[in-house]
Symmetry: C2
Subunit: 161 residues, 2 copies
Amino acid sequence: MTDREDLTARMLAAGRELSTAAVMFHTALAARQGLSATEEKALDLLDRLGPLTARQLAAHASLAPASVTGLVDRLERKGFARRVPNPADKRSVLVETVPDRLTGLAPLFDHYVASLTELVTRYNDIELAAIVDFLTEAAARQRDATRLLKDDGETFAPDSR
Amino acid sequence: MTDREDLTARMLAAGRELSTAAVMFHTALAARQGLSATEEKALDLLDRLGPLTARQLAAHASLAPASVTGLVDRLERKGFARRVPNPADKRSVLVETVPDRLTGLAPLFDHYVASLTELVTRYNDIELAAIVDFLTEAAARQRDATRLLKDDGETFAPDSR
DNA sequence: ATGTTTCGTTCGACCGAACGAAATAATTGG
DNA sequence: CCAATTATTTCGTTCGGTCGAACGAAACAT
């Protein structure tokens, strides 16, 4: 095995390690907040797409409208989201995340960010640029893989977002 | 903002992207196989620690013995694990993963691995070594953060199952 | 040998989370 | 201004997943 092949193999192994570490981190984060997978997914959708009506949230999360009522009830009870009246349509309800729902965890995030910031002092600008490029590209390719995984399996189960 | 600060900020942003991509990939992978979070966690434990007795699996997964019976029943029914007699103790049962439980997904993995392998041809040896080092170190630091998250949260809530 | 501990399973019960159908409220269109 | 449509909630139900307690079988100890 050449040095180059060895480096590539180690890249793959390290990538797997980081991947599982990320999954475990997110799992622990959700558990710490007392959130189920569905609830966390909903909060992520609301963060990424902005306030949504119950119906829109149902569509994005692939849930029945009745299920969203219960879901939002739980999120409100736990203090992670709230219903606000929709000025444009008094039948509907806008659901939005509570702005500072992560304040209690800020020290942890700060510590982690500081740790990574310290880590990259090891590398010169050229190396760091390569790292940034790699992370960006790897994320894009993993998103592609995720899409393949879904499309391939849901040919008959429309998500309809 | 200096170039260096900009690079570091982009490293953090790209890292978050990759992290969420990894989580979504794992979620899709589990859904594709019809596995719940608990079931996937159990399979991961069995893969990492080798065959375990039901009791050991219960301890590692923080489940009651009765729950493990049902869990392993489900995994067997779905074809992802099996019980084998424990030669050292006829009371106990060893649970192991079925060796080729990912064969159907091999093409997908191969494609993703090939994509990453192609990606790193962009970088010279120095840069690639930096990438490998970064991935390894970032994984270690994220594991640390996960541990903090858990320890900090369970100081008062003994799991004790 | 025989009493005790350990292992996994079975049983019965419970809870969270999802669903469909019906009910309620508000909007839209003729 | 009324009928049809749309948005959400309520209601009752179902299902999966977990638990504690009780049990039989095997191992251990004395």
